[in-house]
């Protein structure tokens, strides 16, 4: 039993191709990878919106904004 079908290296490398584990699941990995990427963007947008909303509620007088603008 082996996750890539090989239990030893008694092979001719001219006849060996892929050696990564769980061969046959490449398309599934691709779908999961795509999902990871898309979910990342969803979470990132939510987090950034939360940050921007928080910043909108802060410094209602504008004093701190004027200060940072002055510091350039």
């Amino acid at each position: 039993m082996s996750t890539n079908g090989m239990t030893d290296w008694a092979v001719d490398l001219a006849e060996v191709g892929a050696v990564y584990p769980f061969q046959g699941s490449e398309f599934l990995m691709f779908i999961l990878g795509l999902a990871f990427w898309i979910i990342w963007h969803v979470l990132q947008f939510r987090g950034e919106k939360h940050e921007v909303d928080h910043e909108m509620d802060a410094d209602s007088s504008g004093d701190k904004a004027r200060d940072v603008i002055g510091r350039y």
């Binding site: 039993m1 996750t3 030893d8 092979v11 490449e26 990995m29 990871f36 990132q44």
Partner: protein, 452 residues
């Protein structure tokens, strides 16, 4: 050298390792930048010096005895088949051997020694960030020699050597050093931190931690970016660039030459290029989300991701490497803050988490992902398995990492040599040099004004 093909292979291999050494220098530039930036302004010159002096101290001690340990200890002492210290194999690594000097019959010893030396510096530099702003420089430099020229090279001899007992008996597989560099250094740092204690002001009276921000957050991330760049050299240096089945003299048949990992089992530079980039990406993406976009933790997470996937990055599929890295980065972040709150451990830069926990987790994951696969191209070695990898992780993080760090720190502390006094910590390590600097500036200004 025999024929022209042998000569070409030898010279190519010599040049290959030389190039990796140059790249790995960037890891240390990065560590200097990152730690100076992470420290408060009143400590930054001492922090820089603490880092730079690792280089000569680990270099000379690695020349004197570190390199010999690698060749002498794969099966010992007294672990596998008798005393297990291979004096014969280590004959070319004694500091007085002709092969350790300019020698026209040898084109490999120097560059191979240098590649391992850069790993030794890395092991010590990993520890340096955690302990900054309160450790005495002299104490740190003793600890640097212990981790850089003793502890890690023993672990390399045992688990990062084609003939190492951990590979033969446990099926230990750690191609890009999740355990042999990162887990051991993280464990060593934890051992030291427990004795050293936190920085003044780190914990409130009620025990809750304060954040001690870096004096230059942008430069911290630039330093980490330089470490990423140097890490490419590390990965390439962990491989043997090209070797024939005939020279390997193992189970592989046929005539196809191949690159190999340190265990002399086949892989390719192309494969580790895929996996380095995908594991960096998985780590960055996961760390960005879990830290809510914190710059320091996002960059650290990229590194933690690579470290988690490193044990099996010679064989993983790139998408597997990405997911493994993402998990490792998430776990490192969570564990850092949990340990900080629960055990009041002040790790100034999160090195125990990014290197120690991520490395440990990476070894465990590797045992499952590569279960049943051969650990070596030689007959009779245990195959890779979860139990062997778990035992290996305990040896790396605990036995060779945490334990020596804690013991040496205890000894130094008992002699009053580990930590600076509170008054000095509050004034800043650079206090005297800052005073001298200010006085020199004032003196020059006055002199120049008088000339106007």
């Amino acid at each position: 050298m025999g024929n022209n093909l042998d000569a070409l292979t030898t010279i190519f291999t010599e040049f290959y390792y030389w190039v990796t050494v140059v790249f790995m220098f960037l890891i240390h530039v990065g560590f200097c930048v990152y730690e100076v930036a992470a420290s408060r302004r009143r400590n930054h010159v001492h922090t820089l010096m603490k880092n730079i002096m690792v280089i000569p101290l680990v270099t000379v001690t690695f020349f004197f005895f570190g390199w010999w340990i690698y060749f002498a200890f794969p099966n010992g002492p007294w672990i596998y088949q008798g005393m297990g210290i291979d004096f014969d194999a280590a004959k070319g690594a004694r500091p007085w051997d002709p092969a350790m000097g300019t020698n026209l019959s040898d084109h490999i010893n120097g560059v191979f020694w240098a590649a391992f030396l850069l790993f030794s510096w890395t092991a010590a530099s990993i520890v340096s960030g955690s302990v900054m702003e309160r450790i005495r420089s002299g104490a740190f430099w003793v600890l640097a020699v212990v981790i850089g020229s003793f502890a890690w090279i023993i672990d390399a001899s045992w688990g990062w050597h084609w003939d190492g007992w951990m590979v033969k008996m446990l099926g230990y597989h750690d191609a890009y050093a999740s355990g042999v560099i990162h887990a051991i250094a993280g464990g060593f740092a934890l051992g030291v931190l427990i004795v050293l204690g936190p920085r003044l002001g780190k914990f409130r009276d009620d025990g809750t931690p304060r954040d001690i921000p870096p004096h230059n957050p942008w430069l911290v991330t630039l330093g980490l970016f330089l470490i990423y760049t140097g890490f490419w050299g590390f990965y390439a240096a962990c491989n043997v660039p090209i070797i024939s089945p005939e020279v390997l003299d193992g189970q592989i048949t046929g005539v196809t030459w191949t690159a190999t990992n340190i265990y002399l089992a086949p892989t390719t530079l192309s494969a580790i290029t895929f996996n380095f980039l995908m594991s960096l990406s998985g780590g960055l993406m996961a760390a960005y989300i879990v830290s809510k976009g914190d710059a320091f933790w996002t960059f650290s997470g990229g590194l933690a991701g690579i470290i988690t996937a490193s044990a099996g990055n010679d064989l993983y599929h790139p998408i597997q490497a990405m997911f493994i890295a993402a998990f490792g980065a998430w776990a490192a972040y969570k564990l850092h803050y949990w340990v900080e709150r629960k055990f009041k451990i002040d790790d100034a830069v999160g090195a125990v988490a990014v290197h120690g926990y991520a490395g440990f987790i990476g070894l465990i994951i590797c045992g499952f992902m590569l279960w049943g696969q051969p650990s070596s191209p030689y007959a009779g070695y245990a195959t890779i398995n979860p139990l062997g990898m778990f035992i290996g992780a305990i040896i790396m993080f605990g036995v060779l990492g945490f334990l020596p760090g804690w013991i040496v720190a205890k000894i130094l502390n008992g002699m009053g040599m580990l930590r600076i006094p509170s008054k000095v910590e509050l004034e800043g390590l650079d206090f005297e040099s800052s005073e001298a600097y200010d006085a020199a500036v004032a003196d020059v200004i006055e002199a120049e004004k008088a000339l106007v």
